[in-house]
């Protein structure tokens, strides 16, 4: 079986009949089994996927296959799929099964995607290494001694190791882009509100977005085009019509690109990451792009602001996991307080508890103004700054991560060091703008690096077109 990394190629072969969905599903099932040690999948829907493959093959044959007919997709295990277990990689949801499918999933299924399983991640999407899963860490397929990044580590690795064609993840502070960078795949975080959050387990509601992992920006555009759009079940989903992203991919000639000068002077930034970023900018200049360095005055505040606000929301969003109505309940629950305390003490992992405590603290009487309100104000400044820069420039470019994937357990004992991994990714979430991590080749350790592109709200089309241009015309020359 050919290794398909472009859906256009795959569709052509499906249409010609040189491959069919059954073969594809068997191929991926074999690979999942062969790479089980990566721990990317928490559950594989083998029987269902085979059955669905037959149905889709019949449709393709009849000439009425959907736009995703033949695309085999894995779901991060914080996205609801009706009748299937949903754990958020936490013990606290127990044997919980979702009563409904996320809007994004519904829309993929309506276009004949085949869902092959649910993917490991950091518990409740909290983490940057996928070491916070109650079901064990996910390993980077490029070097199994290294982390895949997080929180959507399983989703990144599943695409990296070709255990499925594409996957969905969620991005609250970089949880799609950072693992995409560590694993050498394309990871897209859409504009806030572009994809309905209905059916996504909430971590931080005003940041969370579902987005795809693919090998090519073109396929990210296709998946977004299908998933995006207004949804009666999510009043924060944007009403703005969905642009034909797949038709906007052609790079329209040299544009204006901004980069953050002081981001490249950050202490923990790997020299090679900096050089590769600057080389990219030089090449763009050579190609006629107008490249401007701007100073980002709030760069030291992005991570603290993000953590104050996201944990505040998380502390409230995770209140519902209390052992009363569904999921795990401690065996030592004998009355109301013991039900709550023991269930949550035993059911949540350490990082989740840390963030619930932090969020509870910043919302508490006497601290609200000092932390939560202030962080809201800083968020506004960061958003205004970002939009202002993007007003004058088509894209903003910066590294996705300060360095390539690190060793397992490297940051496990130092939460602050782990939080700083998000320094380049949280800006897009704070500002609500779309961002994508584009693979730019491997570093001296032969580990993948990603370059991040940010764009104006709802301009995912041009942003992905530029990403494609980077991959095909800029990085390929290095």
């Amino acid at each position: 079986m050919k290794a398909y990394t472009s859906f256009a190629h795959l569709q052509r072969d499906l249409a010609e009949g040189s491959v069919n969905c059954i073969q594809l599903v068997e191929h991926y099932l074999d690979r999942i089994e062969a790479h089980a040690s990566l721990n990317a999948f928490l559950e594989v829907y083998a029987v269902e996927a085979r059955q669905r493959a037959q149905e889709v093959d019949a449709k393709i044959k009849a000439g009425n296959g959907g736009r995703l007919a033949g695309m085999v997709i894995g779901l991060k295990d914080n996205i609801c799929y009706q009748g299937h277990r949903l754990t958020a990689a936490s013990k606290i949801l127990g044997e919980f099964e979702s009563l409904f499918s996320a809007t994004a999933v519904e829309r993929l299924l309506a276009e004949d995607a085949i869902i092959i399983g649910r993917l490991n991640c950091d518990e409740f999407a909290m983490g940057s290494s996928n070491e916070n899963s109650a079901f064990g860490p996910v390993l980077n397929a490029q070097d199994t001694g290294k982390v895949p990044g997080g929180s959507s580590g399983g989703s990144a690795v599943a695409v990296q190791a070709q255990l499925c064609f594409a996957s969905l993840g969620s991005d609250t502070g970089g949880s799609i882009r950072q693992p995409a960078s560590f694993c050498g795949v394309v990871g897209l975080k859409p504009t806030y509100g572009r994809v309905s959050r209905h059916g996504l387990i909430a971590y931080a509601s005003s940041f969370d977005q579902i987005g795809p992992f693919t090998h090519q920006p073109e396929d990210a555009a296709l998946l977004l085009e299908i998933m995006a759009g207004a949804d009666a079940y999510d009043s924060t989903a944007a009403l703005q019509p969905v642009a034909p992203y797949t038709a906007q991919l052609k790079e329209q000639g040299p544009k204006k690109v901004a980069y953050l000068k002081n981001a490249l002077e950050q202490p923990g930034l790997d020299q090679e990451v900096k050089e590769r970023t600057l080389q990219t900018l030089d090449r763009l200049k050579a190609e006629g792009y107008e490249v401007t360095g701007v100073d980002f005055p709030y760069i030291d505040y992005v991570v603290p602001t993000y953590f104050v606000l996201s944990t505040a929301e998380a502390s409230s969003n995770l209140s519902r996991y209390d052992g009363v109505h569904y999921g795990f309940r401690s065996e030592d629950a004998s009355d109301i307080p013991s039900t709550y305390i023991n269930t949550r003490t035993e059911g949540f992992g350490k990082e989740v508890k840390r963030r619930i405590m932090l969020g509870t603290f910043v919302l508490s009487a006497g601290y609200y103004d000092a932390y939560y309100s202030k962080a809201q104000k800083v968020r506004r400044l960061i958003r205004d700054f970002t939009l202002e820069v993007l007003q004058d420039h088509d894209f903003m470019v910066l590294p996705t991560t300060p360095h390539s994937a690190f060793e397992l357990n490297a940051n496990a004992q130092d939460p602050i060091a782990m939080y700083l991994e998000d320094i380049f990714t949280v800006q897009a979430n704070l500002a609500g703008v779309p961002a994508v991590s584009v693979p730019m080749g491997n570093d001296r350790h032969d580990m993948p690096l990603g370059l991040q592109v940010l764009a104006r709200p709802f301009e995912e089309g041009p942003m992905l077109g530029f990403s494609s241009y980077l991959m095909n015309n800029i990085f390929s020359q290095s």
Partner: protein, 485 residues
């Protein structure tokens, strides 16, 4: 003690929760029904399942606007929602979606007429939208508490007064008005016994004439208006007693025990509860446009206070009558319809409060089910006013016949039963002359000064006319003809 009590006044602020009669819940499409089987109206949203988000029911806002406009509150254009965080088994999400810093209505007032006191305005602090919790049931299973989530997510309006009430009677009068208002506006059925209208009271006492407030106690668990009155009365006595004994009132939450008529300290944990309010990130703020407000204003039903004023000032009815007529919206609407057909407002009020209410009371029936149309009642009044029938015939004969055959006109009923009275002067004169001719000696006695004989002649006239003579006219004619005889 009684004397000590006289030195103090109590200061009360009330928080009323009105459950809205919307057909679905505040943030989901689950039906909003009072008597569904337990845990029947519970979708994934109500259950707070992972991945669910609230969907705002704009009816909640419309109902809030009705009440806010009726109370002359300021309506906020930009409405945000907030989360109030606390853990309880009947609160599936672990937070309640409410409004914190931006209530939909601020200010406004509700006029009350306390027993034996003058009318006064109770100022409102705010009205805001929120969702109800489920119900915890602790007394049905010896080992477990049960939770019914049908109520979880039902829309509520919380109506908070300024501390403007000065007695238990004030509170009773206020609740009477609120209940009347929400019923008139069709936003809530106002049933405190079933919990669709609930009330918490903040009660403090102070020496009369004092400008500062005493330490307040919040009283909960009052499931009738009478309970509210009794609880406040008890609380006032309790607090005055404490102060008179040199003790201090503790700021706390107390529950009312209706069977013993006393309040008992509940967990003081309430005071320490930190609800960690913050803006609800799952709902977009709602902008209320001026046109929307005008639309609701235009469709507002008549308000009881407006009707009361009109009945007393324009129709000349007594405050007592106006009070009864406006007490319930269906009665008021019937009266409104009735006065479209008759200008004899006093008679209309009397008929409605007399014969019609009597009929309804005998049958434990609401006026909604009363078979007779207002036009027909107006026609009876017309028959009386034109002297065609007497009051007695109308009440004792025509009205009962009409309730049996509501499709017929009262006039037709009276005619077919030969109940139209004879007020025709010629006929009447013949009867009177005949009576005088029959008893010449009595005529002489009358002339001699025995004026009471009028009654005897009247009886004779009525007998001859088989009761159809217009008594007023006949009486007048008998006197005239006796004088001239």
């Amino acid at each position: 003690m009684e004397n000590a009590l006289d030195k103090y006044e109590c200061v009360v602020g009330l928080e009323v929760h009105a459950q809205l009669q919307t057909s679905s819940k505040a943030y989901s499409s689950d039906p909003n029904e009072y008597d569904a089987a337990p845990n029947h109206n519970v979708s994934a949203i109500t259950l707070g399942h992972p991945g669910t988000l609230p969907r705002f029911n704009s009816r909640t806002m419309e109902y809030a606007l009705r009440l806010g406009i009726a109370c002359k509150s300021d309506i906020r254009e930009w409405n945000e929602f907030a989360r109030k965080n606390y853990f309880y088994p009947d609160l599936p999400k672990g937070y309640q979606i409410t409004q914190d810093t931006t209530p939909i209505c601020t200010g406004g007032h509700i006029a009350i007429k306390p027993k034996g006191g003058a009318e006064k305005n109770i100022r409102l602090q705010r009205i805001h939208m929120e969702e109800d919790s489920g119900k915890s049931i602790h007394d049905q299973d010896p080992f477990n508490s049960l939770v019914d989530l049908n109520r979880a997510g039902v829309p509520l309006l919380e109506i908070v007064t300024e501390p403007d009430l000065r007695s238990a009677d004030d509170a009773y009068a206020y609740l009477t008005e609120v209940r009347k208002l929400v019923r008139y506006l069709d936003v809530c059925d106002g049933n405190m016994e079933e919990g669709s209208m609930r009330c918490d009271a903040n009660v403090s006492v102070r020496l009369k004439g004092s400008e500062t407030f005493g330490r307040r106690v919040e009283v909960k668990n009052m499931n009738s208006m009478r309970n509210v009155r009794d609880a406040i009365e008890y609380e006032m006595k309790r607090q005055v007693e404490l102060i008179e004994n040199g003790e201090t009132v503790v700021q706390e939450t107390r529950g009312f025990d209706a069977s013993r008529g006393i309040t008992l300290s509940q967990r003081t944990k309430e005071a320490a509860n930190d609800y960690r309010y913050f803006p609800e990130p799952d709902l977009q703020p709602i902008r209320i446009k001026q046109e929307m407000i005008e639309e609701v204003r235009k469709n507002l039903p008549p308000l009881p206070s407006e009707l009361f004023d009109r009945y007393t000032k324009e129709m000349g009815l007594s405050e007592y009558d106006a009070g009864i007529l406006t007490d319930s919206k269906p009665i008021a609407l019937y009266f409104e319809a009735l006065t479209q057909h008759t200008k004899n407002f006093k008679a209309a009020a009397n008929w409605l409060m007399g014969e019609v209410k009597g009929y309804l009371n005998d049958r434990a029936m609401g006026i909604e089910d009363f078979p007779v149309a207002p036009q027909a009642i107006a026609e009876i009044i017309e028959l009386i006013d034109t002297g065609k029938v007497s009051n007695a015939i109308a009440a004792q004969k025509i009205f009962p016949a009409l309730t049996e055959a509501p499709d017929q006109s009262p006039k037709a009923i009276a005619e077919s039963n030969n109940w139209i009275q004879e007020s025709d002067d010629g006929t009447l004169k013949e009867y009177v002359q005949a009576a005088l001719d029959k008893y010449p000696e009595k005529v002489a006695e009358y002339k001699g000064g025995k004026k009471s004989l009028v009654g005897m002649f009247m009886g004779e006239v009525m007998k001859m006319s088989r009761g159809k003579a217009d008594p007023k006219k006949a009486n007048q004619m008998v006197r005239e003809m006796l004088e001239n005889a």
